[in-house]
């Protein structure tokens, strides 16, 4: 069995700042991490590997620095890492990205047939959740989004059963393979690499595939040219300045009293509802 996991290196959004003068995002000095949503996908793939001995290949389209993110995946237990990188790919939106990744996955499939492709639910820097579906459509694979659990895999029969979070409940879906799964967050916990894993990652050479390697000739489909999405403007929303109310008092009890007073003056319906509720409670108590 062969599983591919598509990951992206993203700036750690917790540490991103907006330039106070130009309003642009300052990525300088912000550490790059594996998109957190992708780690749930990777962990799920590694768990299948633990159970079945499947081969796990991680794949990323990105600049040469993205190699660090791939190495991290190797340290956690992935067998192979491929960086799909070419100057022509830069500036890609989700459409152009899924085009390139699909081409890379096709190439990978020729080397060793794929049964499953995992992606994260979405990225923290794009938030679109479009790349996984884009890949599935292009490859003609089954698409299983927002998967919360993999219930069963039958490699012989090429079938998989998954649980999918849907509005108002959980769907149990059975599908044939190959399939693309986008993994829901919080469904597992990524493992901690052991020392041998760290050594493997430190020594492993990541493969680099450029556009020739994955047979891309039509440059209007990739990078900025292949991206219909236009960023019209970037701005930091001005925080609304609402003056905080200060409640003063000598003792905590006095402060609490002043606070409740203020609350009930501003929202009389709240006081009414509370009194009504208290009346009901009293009535219930009398009955019992």
């Amino acid at each position: 069995m062969h599983i591919a996991v598509c990951i992206k290196q993203v700036p750690d959004s917790a540490q991103i700042r907006v330039h106070p003068v130009t309003n642009t995002i300052m990525r300088q000095g912000v550490p790059a991490i594996v998109n957190p949503f992708d780690l749930f996908a990777l962990e799920e793939a590694l768990r299948i590997k633990d159970r079945t001995g499947a081969r796990v290949t991680v794949l990323s389209m990105g600049p040469p620095q993205a190699e660090d993110a791939l190495k991290k995946c190797i340290s956690l237990g992935a067998d192979d890492a491929i960086l799909v990188t070419d100057k022509a790919f830069s500036g890609a939106d989700t459409l152009a990205t899924s085009y390139v990744l699909a081409a890379a996955l096709r190439t990978l499939h020729e080397k060793q047939p794929l049964d499953l492709v995992f992606t994260g639910k979405q990225t923290i820097d794009g938030d679109t959740a479009q790349v996984g579906p884009g890949i599935a459509i292009r490859l003609g694979y089954q698409l299983l989004t927002y998967v919360s659990r993999i219930a069963k895999i039958d490699v012989q029969d090429s079938r998989i059963v998954v649980e999918r979070r849907a509005e108002g409940g959980v769907q149990v879906l059975e599908s044939r393979l190959p399939a693309v799964i986008t993994m829901l967050e919080g469904t597992n916990t990524i493992r901690f690499a052991d020392m041998p894993g760290m050594f493997t990652a430190a020594r492993q050479q990541t493969q680099h595939w450029n556009r020739e390697a994955i047979g891309i000739t039509d440059l209007t489909q990739v990078g900025l040219k292949g991206s219909p999405t236009v960023v019209a403007q970037v701005f930091a929303p001005k925080p609304k300045a609402v003056r905080a109310l200060r409640i003063e008092g000598e003792t905590p009890a006095a402060m609490a009293e002043a606070f409740v007073d203020k609350l009930f003056t501003d929202y009389p319906q709240l006081e009414e509802a509370l009194l009504e509720h208290l009346d009901q409670l009293a009535a219930q108590e009398q009955q019992s």
């Binding site: 700042r17 106070p20 000095g29 550490p31 052991d194 020392m195 760290m198 050594f199 430190a202 020594r203």
Partner: protein
């Protein structure tokens, strides 16, 4: 189990210098760093002294991320929130390449240095904390234990480049625990300002930079100093004091820093800046007398972990790099001669240190920590006196200059007895001679 010739613990300047020199010489070396990437855990002002790095990577200027070269040095004596007396040194020779000192941002610099280490052929593994040293039955250090599963790794020699806390050596009983009296605690901020604003405020252009060393009452009478350095589009500002003093005074480092930032001489320089980063870090400032055992069977200690800091000149990273290089060169020489890395042979490292600028400078200032410790008023009384004297002399108010001199002298005497003055002068001379 994995086995290497040498394991270097830590990827600061000392560890990087050691790993680079070893790898260049073809030694099989593993470097372990607990930070996500080299530099994420490290704090420095930071001034980079070119000389020490030049001896390791002669053409470092072509690729290292340098912010500005230091064109001007200011020294300020500060009193309370309003007085600042100072001196400025600007010398065209410092603005002529090759430059001697640069401001740097450690996170970037360390990442660059680490890339060089990898290029040289060392195996570098980050996000991996060494929890203890592995010892054999005779107590020889034979490797390290990391916090990861299956985490034991063997080596013929372990270089401790683990920084100021020096936890590994203490835990293994290779040294005594560090005393608060020998440690300075520094709080530092990086403040963002556009390059043009920095150039205008500091009267500089191009890649020129300014360094301001701050002393006096901003440390509330504790032994310590502050600094303000210009980077390309940010300012590094920090202040620190001896940990022992801080413990007694129950003042926090960030309170000191806030005070410094509000000082009349500092505030206009950083007005409107946005804080990018806040950090606090220890500096071992005990000097020569606080140096631990520097080598033993299967181990060496370098950089801050060995206490190689010249607090008076704020030199640390250069001594770290030089000691890392000397440690590596000692090992390379022993290996070439087919000698084992036992204590008897590793004494070679100590010999090389003794011949170097590190021990020479630490010897020169060996008495300074004691001097400052016993006479903390030096940093409190004198700046105040100096400030008042300058104020008196510059104030044109109809009093004769002679009367003013008498007033200054009277204040001097009221603060410090004549004998006390003489004593201070003598001790000062002794300590810095």
């Amino acid at each position: 189990m994995e086995k290497f010739d040498v394991i270097v613990v830590g990827a600061g300047p000392s560890g990087n210098a050691a790993a680079y020199t070893l790898a260049k010489a073809g030694v099989n070396v593993l470097q372990l760093e607990r930070g996500e990437s080299p530099g994420t855990k490290n704090v420095q002002g930071a001034i980079l002294y070119a000389h020490a790095l030049e001896e390791i990577i002669p053409d470092f200027r072509d690729s290292a991320p340098l912010e500005r070269h230091v064109a001007e040095q200011r020294m300020w004596m500060m009193d309370e929130a309003s007085v600042c007396t100072g001196m400025t040194h600007r010398d065209a020779r410092f603005s002529t390449p090759p430059y001697n000192r640069y401001t740097i941002i450690r996170a970037r610099f360390d990442r660059w240095f680490s890339a060089k280490v990898k290029e040289a052929g060392a195996l570098v593994i980050c996000e991996t904390t060494v929890s203890e040293l592995l010892r054999d039955a005779q107590g020889r250090v034979v490797g390290v234990r990391t916090e990861r599963e299956h985490g034991d790794i063997l080596a013929d020699c372990v270089i401790l480049a683990d920084g100021a806390n020096a936890l590994l050596g203490s835990r293994a009983g290779l040294r005594r625990e560090i005393k608060a009296e020998d440690m300075a605690l520094v709080a530092k901020e990086v403040l963002f300002l556009p390059k043009e604003t920095i150039d205008a405020r500091f009267n500089i252009s191009g890649d020129e930079g300014v360094v301001i060393e701050l002393a006096g009452n901003v440390t509330h009478g504790m032994v310590g100093t502050g600094f303000l350095y210009t980077n390309k589009d940010s300012i590094s500002i920090g202040i620190g004091c001896m940990l022992g003093d801080m413990k007694r005074q129950t003042i926090t480092p960030y309170q000191l820093l806030e005070g410094l930032k509000r000082h009349t001489a500092v505030r206009p320089l950083i007005e409107g800046a946005e804080m990018k980063e806040y950090s606090a870090h220890l500096i071992p400032e005990g000097g020569l007398k606080a140096l631990p055992q520097l080598y033993g069977d299967g181990w060496l200690v370098v950089g801050d972990s060995a206490g190689f800091v010249n607090g008076i000149h704020r030199e640390g990273s250069n001594l770290a790099m030089t000691s890392g290089r000397l440690a590596a060169e000692s090992l390379v020489a022993l290996k070439a001669a087919g000698k084992p890395f036992d204590a008897r042979h590793l004494a070679e490292y100590k010999r090389r240190l003794d011949d170097s600028v590190i021990i020479a400078d630490l010897k020169k200032y060996a008495d300074v920590p004691d001097f400052l410790h016993n006479k903390p008023h030096i940093l409190d009384v004198y700046p105040r006196l100096l400030g008042n004297a300058a104020h008196e002399m510059f104030m044109v108010d109809g009093q004769s200059k002679r009367a003013k001199q008498q007033k200054i002298y009277a204040e001097l005497k009221s603060r410090r007895s004549l004998l006390g003055l003489l004593g201070d002068a003598y001790h000062f001379w002794r300590a810095f001679r």
